[in-house]
Amino acid sequence: MPIRKLSAQRLWLLAAYAAAAAALFCAPLVLSDFRLNLLAKFLAYAIVALGLDLIWGYTGILSLGHGVFFGLGGYAMAMYLKLDASGGKLPDFMDWSGLTKLPWFWKPFASLPFAIAAGILVPAMLALILGYVTFRNRIRGVYFTILTQALVIITTTLFIGQQAYTGGTNGLTGYSKLFGYSLGSPETKKWLYWVTVMLLIGAYLLCRVLVKSRFGKVLRAIRDGENRVRFIGYDPALYQMVAFGFSAGLAGLAGMLFVLHVGIISPSMMGIVPSIEMVLWVAIGGRGTLVGAVLGAVLLNYAKSTFSESYPNIWIVFMGALFVVVVVFLPKGAAGLFGQFKWLRRRKAADEGADGVRYPAV
């Protein structure tokens, strides 16, 4: 491919990205408050999808435990808001469960910087620890996936069981103010939306840098042949751990934003079904392409909220069918479909493989 053509293509691509970013920033001007809030929620989901794509699409490790990391981030933020709302007194649900003193691990969450740091670092640390004990022993593939799924089960049971500390099934809710601004007011919602857009763009750029770097190349090499990478002299476990931890941190960040937009976090938002839905976003958007993950998260959630309002039953069947169809017929997701069209236009590049992206073999 001649260099001039490549640069023209890049320019178009850059223009498209800039237009998309501009559109996102201007969305509050056209959308109603309700739709804006919905979009903000989807953009928070897109941040999870980015992290999940990094670990699944690029490293070839399927985690069904991202609901937990998302939830931990959400709980960290909700704990701060709850303490803030109860104004130095014991949060109401603790009162009901018979606690008289604030538990020690709640105390630091009175400070916002600590809560934000914890919302990202706690999920990342949990992922690092789980990654350390699994990847180091070369527990991978389906074994790892099953372990992450078990992590989801025990976390949700724990959160439901320890009602006095976590609010049980109801989760944490009943807070309305951040820095004294009402979370429900359109003005605050707009600002929160912009913050989410900024963070999404930041996360996207960060992931892009990672993917294009040497680190990203090693990740893809691990996906395509872990043992070969090991023989060359790399330590795949280290790379897998870092990628997993980073992706968990992104999920935590998304969880914090989710709480700000939605105003509730509960165990049902970190269970098995949400965790698998997150995987579906990446699968449908196209694993191994960052844009695909973002688009998948936003579009699928849009479809879900449109469908499931009127036909909740059909949505479930539709989601199941989508899984089957995407996995069997479109392993590269929507982004792969787009790539195929391009491939149709430029047959010459055919024997290179459509776009150089291989879906994980295992």
Binding site: L62, L130, V133, T134, N137, R138, I139, G141, V142, Y143, T145, I146, L147, Q149, A150, L151, I153, I154, T157, L158, I160, G161, Q162, E226, N227, I272, I276, V279, L280, A283, N313, I316, V317, M319, G320, A321, L322, F323, V324, V327, V328, P331, P360, A361, V362
Partner: protein, 301 residues
Amino acid sequence: MDVIVLQLFNGISVSSILLLIALGLSITFGLMKVINMAHGELIMIGAYTAYVVQNLFADYLPDSMFGWYFALAIPVSFIVAFVFGLVLEMGLIRFLYGRPLDSLLATWGVGLMLQQLARSIFGAPNVGVKSPAWLDGGMTVGDNVFPYKRLFIIGLVLICLLAMYVYIYKSHSGRRMRAVMQNREMAACLGISTRRVDAMTFAIGSGIAGIAGCALTLIGPIGPAIGTYYIVDAFMVVVLGGVGKLVGTVFGALGIGLSNTLFEYWTTASLGKVLVFACIVAFLQWKPSGFVALRSRSLDN
């Protein structure tokens, strides 16, 4: 002393159910490297089959015969789930060999659809299956009462285990199955139809799930989501026990069932689960491929 005996009995009872569920999983996973997340829904199919058989007995046969519906429900559940499994294998699973994670996602989608199907047919609320009168009550040993239902399930599991053992290790088709499991290419070279072995194995695994569902109707009400409660635990059994040998699955089921009961007795139910998980992860540090693993010289196994 009595408490220990009772806890032990409870643990073995939980283990036997886990074993029944994991038995089917471990052979499909071990042989075909397919993660069947719809296994829970095959359990559900078995449970609803028992429900249907019960209703047919209640409607068309004299009351005196009702007690024996369960004896018929077990084989019927097996057959219905077997046929479902065969259809699933031929329609979907065979496109996914060699892609275990993809099979996990696709079968999860199938599971969702089956759950919704059950909801449309039988309604979302749980339905009860009236267990036969001859399973009421319990056996009294000293001061302890062992319910007949639980004893019956333990006996059923032992029979299934024995049948699986005879099938896998003593029959011709079981030998072909082991050959495919250990070296697929070599087995194919020697004239074994691996396609047929795969389909058969998957169907048998599904059939056992059907029996498991039938047994679960003795313990509690059944609903569309009955399988999801057990499925992850069953997978943990497979991971802990190692893939490809019956003894591994038995060990995994006993390990998880007993430790689960003990930890829940010592702490609370939710903390017990955390401790079990921590123990499993700790165990995998020692034996990363489970208690029993088929030895292989293949690098990427």
